[in-house]
Amino acid sequence: MTTTLPISLTVNGHHHELEVDPRVTLLDLLREQLELTGTKKGCDRGQCGACTVLVDGKRINSCLALAVSHDGAEVLTIEGVAHGEELHPVQAAFIAHDGFQCGFCTPGQIMSTIGLIAEGQAGADPERIREGLSGNICRCAAYSGIVEAVLEAQQQLARTDRRTAA
């Protein structure tokens, strides 16, 4: 019989005390135990990026992360980025620019974009955005819409930052 281990996790601002099998990935914990199915399981091998979430502010592949190893971590998933009915600027930009077709990769694309913008490395250079998001595969190939969405979201967030700072 498998022994479960106690961990605590903050997910989208909510604190959880959990019992986990040591083999359970953060992805499976989110989807199966916390019923946060917005984070998708694509390849389950760290190759497609559909499972991207932010852990302590950094984007990672939750399919390669053992939940037990992330005891005490703060996790942000796609369910936690909007403010009530108001979409996160990255979500709104993906809609405005058709940054998806089937939508399966979209939660991962959006979380990866939020991580990319927070890293502050991509700037307004489409080439660097493509490089920065290369860990997120879109089999519908909505890439041109995704790059446009990232560019707009970045400008939008910079404007908001300036207003907040002023």
Binding site: S112, E131, S134, G135
Partner: protein, 327 residues
Amino acid sequence: MRDFAYLRATSTEAARQAAALPGAMLLAGGTTLIDLAKCGVAEPETLVDITHLEGLDGIAVDERGAMIGALARMGHVADHADIKGRFPAVSEAVWQAASAQIRNMATIGGNLMQRTRCPYFRDPSNFSACNKRQPGSGCSAIGGVTRGHAVLGTSEACIAMYPGDLATALVAFDATVHLGERQLLVDDFFLLPGATPDKEHAIEPGEMITAVEIPASAAARRSTYLKVRDRQSYEFAAASAAVGLELEPDGRTIRDLRVALGGVATKPWRARAVEDALKGKVLEPDAVRAASLLAVEGAVDHGANHYKIELAPRVVARAILTLGEAA
């Protein structure tokens, strides 16, 4: 994934002791280990989690060199201003490796323990023969699809390619790996497959990588990592070169040259024959192209990977000439 016991190490010493037990493996970023556990290649009985250890993730750079803690994340190393400034090839190798998500997870120590991407090695349910997984069972790659396999350092037992980028830059600049008290050149840390391809690293039970040290040099400061691949990002190298160059005060004679190859060999591959042929010579395209052919001396192809023998010298030559132009 097979069931395993989980143990969170509270000190480096405790981690070493726990990892010395049969069936125990160290867990850091997990990007190789969890992947291979899902493939059925890694079957640990105990995982010793070292990610909560403190003081092992620092990056310190001064005029003597860089000391990078084993738990420093790849993303942190790639973005570090002093690594970019004094060891550009190291930063370039790391940011061209994997994806941003994986670089945020994977550690430098774990990166050195990265296993091959040989598809036969990674697929035990379909290919039972693999000398790396099961010594003596044979090699499914020889006679199979070999486009991504090594042309240098191979043996009759194994032709699996070493896929990493960072270690290629590390061997070019004589970096050492710290295993607690013991230190080894990174070049000596990686073993040729020979008759024992299952043994990839000169690390013993009870040892743990604690840091990587890169000595400063003029060649490291003027260096680059050129990675040629099937797609522009998030792909392993078809062939890559870490190159460092130091010129004499005349601005054209080569005083020091470092060349290492990735994507073509069974381990990070220092190409000393290229270095020796060009040191003391004037940097000019024909001489560089001729000397770069020495990078693949002794190369053996297995059909579909023949292109690497032509590609690797061109990558080396382009990297050297690019550095030469960027005076």
